[in-house]
């Protein structure tokens, strides 16, 4: 992003893009040729410290060539806007493939697999274009940085931040570890699984799951059509919540009013529900009054069903009035984490609230969805990304440059 100029200033034709476009096309074609010849094997980024040494050598090369050979036409061209813009288009086109086609396994030997169109972001064409783009960005950044002028600060922050975030994000991806740890209530585990290979790994710590808890939104009642597996829209377009006194109207079909609601109950001896002794073992019961046109009102208990409790519906012609469980509002795991070095930490893992432990971030990832709120299993994701601070440095530099860009834009706009 160069410092902005008004379009009113602009007036000359686009120049020098032909060669730059050919250069980018050549890089993409060469990348796809490598994929074709290697049956779509893709690029394997080396791990620490080789990736770091490569990045250091690449950055040093940019500095050496950029400073020592700046006057050479080919170097000036490599760091110029036409090449930069062509590579931006190249990145966008390759990203378009990734944004259009599913990035999932494809049949071996198929055109998609051989060209690696199903994993485009780890393909050779993407790597070539990204590498050349980082070179172009690096040269332009270097020439705006040396000699330093305060007026170039916005350019330096934005472009420098993008260079750091992109290079460290791509090269550091090989050191990223994302592991899944299944935990069961009352048990401790120090084993995690790499996905999707399901390869087990021993962690340098273990986690004891004391309790897993799910909070749900209020259950809803719905008119269910089994022939289409859909629910019928209620008159007000609200999803009716099961609360005492709530009324739902399905025009021309039926209306129902909740007379009583027990959020946690079990069937009693006489068939009527009673409050569950243990709060988490019950299911929602509702006594509803159903009014069908031209017929006397009928009252009946219905429930949403659960482990050991059969669900009860109210049949209405080809439909059923049912209780649907509320959607998960929050789920959390109370855990004790113990490091192999003896360090201990009591924590609660929740979505959006990861916990740090010895360089790892632990995330509340999921649970046994079949068991729903009765789940005693919690899925925790352990993430270790040693390159994260560098990527974040890049992000914050981009935001700093962006703020200055905004400020300069406002100033120019006022002057325009």
């Amino acid at each position: 992003m160069q410092s902005s100029r008004t379009t009113a200033d602009a007036g000359t034709a686009v120049e020098g893009f032909g060669g730059a476009a050919l250069f980018t096309i050549f890089a993409i074609v060469a990348g796809f040729a490598v994929e074709w010849l290697t049956a779509g094997s893709g690029i394997v980024i080396p791990r620490w410290p080789v990736n770091f040494l490569f990045l250091a050598a690449f950055a040093s090369g940019i500095v050496a060539v950029g400073l020592g050979m700046r006057d050479r036409p080919v170097v000036a061209w490599m760091g110029g806007i036409p090449v930069g813009l062509s590579l931006i288009v190249g990145l966008a086109l390759l990203s378009f493939i990734g944004g259009f086609l599913p990035q999932d396994p494809a049949p071996a030997g198929s055109m998609v697999a051989r060209l690696r169109l199903n994993s485009i972001f780890s393909s050779w064409p993407f790597a070539f274009v990204a590498f050349l783009f980082l070179g172009n960005l690096g040269f332009s950044l270097l020439w705006k940085t040396i000699p330093f002028r305060p007026a170039n600060l916005q350019f330096i922050l934005f472009h420098g931040g993008f260079w750091i975030a992109l290079s460290c994000g791509l090269l550091g991806s090989s050191d990223l570890q994302r592991l899944v740890i299944p935990l069961y209530e009352g048990q401790e585990s120090g084993v995690a699984y790499e996905m999707p290979s399901e390869q087990p790994l021993r962690l340098p710590y273990s986690i004891y799951l004391k309790d897993f808890e799910i909070l749900e939104y209020v259950p809803q009642f719905a008119l269910y059509d089994p022939s289409t597996d859909q629910v019928i829209d209620e008159k007000s377009r609200m999803v009716p919540e099961v609360r005492k006194g709530a009324r739902a109207v399905w025009p021309g079909i039926v209306s129902a009013t909740v007379l009583d609601f027990l959020p946690d109950a079990v069937p009693g001896k006489d068939g009527n529900p009673v409050l569950a002794a243990e709060g988490h073992k019950g299911v929602p019961f509702a006594r509803i009054r159903v009014e069908l046109e031209g017929q006397p009102a009928v009252e009946q208990w219905i429930n949403g069903g659960g482990p050991g409790i059969n669900p009860q519906f109210f049949p209405v012609g080809n439909y059923f009035i049912v209780i649907a469980p509320g959607q998960p509002k929050a789920f959390s795991s109370s855990v004790l984490i113990r490091g192999n070095d003896g360090q201990r930490r009591v924590a609660t893992l929740e979505v959006n609230k990861p916990v740090d432990f010895q360089g790892w971030k632990l995330y509340q990832m999921g649970y046994d969805e079949k068991a729903g709120r009765w789940s005693t299993m919690s899925l925790v994701e352990a993430v270790n990304d040693p390159w994260l601070p560098a990527v974040y440095l890049g992000f914050f530099m981009i935001m700093g440059g962006n703020l200055l860009f905004f400020w300069k834009g406002i100033k120019k706009m006022e002057a325009a």
Partner: protein
């Protein structure tokens, strides 16, 4: 306030804008008529702001979850861009395009009404939710305005009535839009790290957000190269198509089947 009231609210807003637009014809000759016309313009938007606030309170969560809800924000915000542009640059025509777009989006919501649903999945219960989505929506609004301004500038050029002020305006709208697009992208990455474990996973929505960002990055580099004004206006006009794919279209692409970003509505 719920969606039961939405058709009346939408009709009221559009009626205010249409009446305000009609009164612009005699407004040049009469100051009271001009004031009344602008009262109607602002009143139309105020009705939508009022509905959004009431709907937020009734939902007990930010109305930013479904595509329908984002369209509602869009319809509320985009006329304001047209009004501000007239206030800043004295350009009168942009507000009519903006009102037209707002009416279109309200119409889509009337034809495909949302369901009133309070539930908000745990991953969306984050401090990043509102800033990420609102910043993106404001960016989309500014870039849509720059797109229609681009096409209008081409029309003016075709009629030999080019206006440097109008061309500058489309540029500045794109520039501000790009700034917010960048913030939205970075906010999204920071949020993704906290919610899903990684800041970037090439999810289809992320990929399209990246493509959109690259598209406007390309525009700024073309500006820096002193590209012809006509090319730039065409570019701005068409670039918004990429944003539309990112906003709506991505849900219908083959890649969307495993996206964490597919929304109803």
């Amino acid at each position: 306030m719920t969606l039961v009231e939405f058709p009346a609210i939408a009709m009221a807003a559009v009626a205010c804008w249409v009446l305000g637009s009609l009164l612009q014809i005699p407004a040049g000759r009469s100051k009271p008529v001009a004031v009344f016309s602008w009262t109607l313009f602002v009143g139309g938007s105020a009705v939508l702001v009022w509905f959004l606030v009431s709907y937020w309170i009734a939902l007990e969560r930010p109305p930013l979850r479904t595509l329908g809800e984002t369209r509602l924000w869009y319809a509320t915000l985009i006329p304001l861009v047209g009004f501000l542009v007239e206030y800043r640059w004295g350009i009168r025509w942009l507000k009519y395009y903006c009102i037209g777009l707002a009416t279109l989006f309200l119409g889509i919501n009337l034809l495909h009404p949302d369901v009133f649903q309070k539930a908000l999945m745990p991953a969306l219960q984050s401090v990043w939710f509102v800033p990420h989505v609102v910043v993106y929506l404001v960016a989309y609004v500014l870039l849509a305005a720059s797109s229609v301004a681009g096409f209008h500038n081409l029309w003016l050029q075709y009629r030999n009535k080019s206006s440097k002020v109008s061309e500058s305006m489309s540029h500045y709208l794109a520039l501000l839009g790009f700034v917010l697009l960048t913030f939205g992208l970075v906010f999204g990455a920071l949020w993704a790290k906290e919610a899903w474990g990684h800041y970037w996973t090439w999810d289809p929505k992320e990929t399209w957000a990246f493509i959109s960002w690259l598209a406007y990055l390309g525009y700024l580099h073309l500006v820096a190269r002193k590209t012809r004004v006509t090319t730039l206006q065409w570019y701005l006009g068409l670039a918004f198509l990429v944003l539309l794919v990112c906003w709506f279209g991505v849900n219908y692409l083959p890649s969307a089947q495993n996206s964490v970003h597919t929304y109803s509505g």
